[in-house]
């Protein structure tokens, strides 16, 4: 039996099957000029997906010429699609008939009246591919949310470590200079003093001034150091303390670098959220939600209490009052506001955040300017309408009886509500 040898091509606007000379035998075109549809197809084809047109033209081929056909295609995906229809397929993108067929696409489009000229087709492709590229870029950006989440969690870990190490440092150095503990509250400054001067004999008013202390404070520290009750230390003792303190200072540097990095990544991953609430709070929200996608799918009411899961579940369990805000408390407008306004402001911020997250995840469009403006207007309104505390506090609802079932267990690591 005679075997028909053909070549098959899948394209943005449909599929062509040609003979060994590259002459068109079967075509299945979807002559849509709807940019959005074409963008979708372009993205699918780039992922190696096979279009319905391709399958359709293969079916037509078999219907017309019988199944004794052998088809040459450009890649494995299309070979598999042909095999699935019991058609023998080989992959050979450089096949000359296939190359010729590729070239007839544009003339076919013109003769079919899909476009008037090659120039028209190209300017069409230009629009489709600009759009498709934007969507792909957004895809890359979307994955960057996971980097932002790791960065903010690292920063939190570093903060915890710094606190832990700083207490150790103070305790350790207090063997030598106990009075310093009360004189310098800031951990970083304390660490810098220890690192710079080592033993308290090394202190000088001049040197302390250089570290940024006022004249009076520098003098005071110096005076106290001269009559300290602490024990004397050997050089080796001091060196080991300095090694330890050096690590603390390095952690501060690392923290600065990560914060810088975080704001970069957040601007790429979630420009609207970042503009609205800043990179740190924005990243915390992503972290609590799990990803930008998860955050984008949350209603404003959930966003409002993110980070207050403990309080929320307690309220659910006991029938008490639900929390007014979780991590959003860190928003400056909320924590400086009087108590009775906080819930309302948190609600307003959460509403805008829900929109910002959706824009960041779904469209990539920058809408934060308007969101920010609306939010400010709303906050001003709240401040005006609720300038005074409510006349009398609403009575606390009666506490419901604790249910029998064991306490609710959360899947995610808790972040502590407020």
């Amino acid at each position: 039996m005679l075997v028909l040898k053909v070549v098959a091509l899948d394209t943005l606007v449909g599929s062509l099957i040609g003979d060994e000379e590259g002459n068109v035998l079967v075509k299945s075109l979807s002559p849509s000029t709807n940019i959005n549809e074409l963008v979708e197809r372009a993205l699918k084809l780039e992922d190696g997906e096979v279009t319905e047109d391709f399958i359709k033209s293969l079916r037509e081929l078999v219907n017309t010429y019988g199944d004794q056909v052998e088809v040459v295609v450009t890649d494995d995906g299309h070979a598999r699609a042909a095999s699935a229809l019991n058609i023998k397929a080989t992959v050979s993108p450089e096949n000359s008939a296939l190359r010729r067929l590729r070239n007839t696409l544009i003339t076919t489009l013109i003769s079919e009246g899909v476009v008037k000229s090659e120039g028209e087709w190209v300017s069409f492709l230009n629009q489709v591919m600009i759009q498709a590229t934007r969507i792909k870029l957004r895809g890359f950006a979307a994955k960057r949310d996971l980097l932002a989440i790791q960065a903010i969690r690292s920063i939190d870990d570093i903060d915890k470590t710094i606190n832990l190490f700083a207490s150790r440092m103070r305790e350790w150095y207090s063997v030598h200079f106990p009075e310093l503990d009360d004189l310098i509250e800031d951990h970083k400054l304390y660490a810098t003093v220890v690192y710079e001067f080592g033993s308290r004999d090394g202190l000088s008013v001049e040197g302390l001034r250089k570290l940024g202390f006022s004249e009076g404070k520098a003098q005071r520290i110096y005076d106290v150091s001269r009559r300290s009750m602490g024990a004397d230390l050997s050089e080796v003792d001091v060196e080991r303390i300095r090694d330890f303190v050096g690590v603390i200072l390095n952690l501060y540097d690392l923290r600065d670098k990560l914060s810088e990095y975080l704001s970069q990544v957040m601007k790429e991953a979630a420009p609207n959220i970042t503009e609205l609430v800043g990179p740190t709070l924005g990243a915390r929200l992503l972290s609590l939600a799990g990803s930008l996608e998860d955050l984008a799918k949350m209603p404003a009411s959930t966003i409002q209490v993110l980070g207050a899961e403990k309080a929320l579940f307690r309220a659910l369990r006991t029938g008490g009052r639900p929390p007014k805000h979780g991590v959003l408390f860190q928003h400056p407008e909320i924590h400086v506001a009087p108590k009775w306004q906080r819930g309302k402001i948190a609600r307003a911020v959460a509403t805008k955040l829900a929109i910002a997250a959706k824009a960041d995840y779904f469209t990539g469009r920058f809408v934060a300017d308007k969101l920010k403006k609306d939010l400010q207007d709303r906050i001003a309104e709240i401040k005006e309408l609720y300038a005074k505390p409510p006349a009398k506090p609403a009575p606390a609802p009666e506490k419901a009886k604790r249910p029998e079932r064991p306490p609710f267990r959360r899947g995610r690591r808790g972040r502590g509500g407020r």
Partner: protein, 233 residues
Amino acid sequence: MIEVVNIKPHGKYAGVYLVELEDGSVKLATKNLSPGRRVYGERLYLYEGVEYREWNPYRSKLAGALLKGIEGLVLSPGSKVLYLGAGSGTTPSHVSDLIGEEGSLYAVEFAPRVIRDLLRVCEDRRNMVPILNDARFPQRYSHIVPLVDVLYADVAQPEQAAIVNMNAKYFLRGNGHLYLAIKSRSIDVTKEPDEVYKSEIETLVRGGFDVEDVVHLDPFDKDHAMVLARYKG
């Protein structure tokens, strides 16, 4: 601003112009397909009602190759071009000028960071089609790229001759041309090709190319040579 004294067609390369400036210097330029717009901070010159863009050989290897007298400019109005490694669009924008409204330039680039700039260039130039993809996998863009007249490759990768061969198999028509920017450490590529360079050319020949000319881009680009080749297909 420096005054233009004269602008005239380049004798050897059609579509390329020589801009003579007041201070005696002469610059390469192309007609601006998108008047009023710059791509990489280049100068614009208006002369007898036509706007030209200066073509900087220190920024564009193709301009460097022309100044080094490469044998032939194979781009003309209506050319179809597949450009691998389009970067932020510096050279592609001049290619876009050269091929005009009737031409088409398929610009492949895989780095998200630079493609944002490339998109801006494409928005002003409807003859450019941006493709965010890896030139090592031509099947990923085979549904939109037709057979082309010219393949331009500047992906700055060690295996780029192999990438070129693969793309040529899919997309370069018989007798179509190739411009390939090769990174080379030799002093004079035409006399003492170093190993990298030699093996790249051998790969091209195995892929069905006839090498027509090679020029070193020094002093515009100390590290590169430009190869002009023809595809036997």
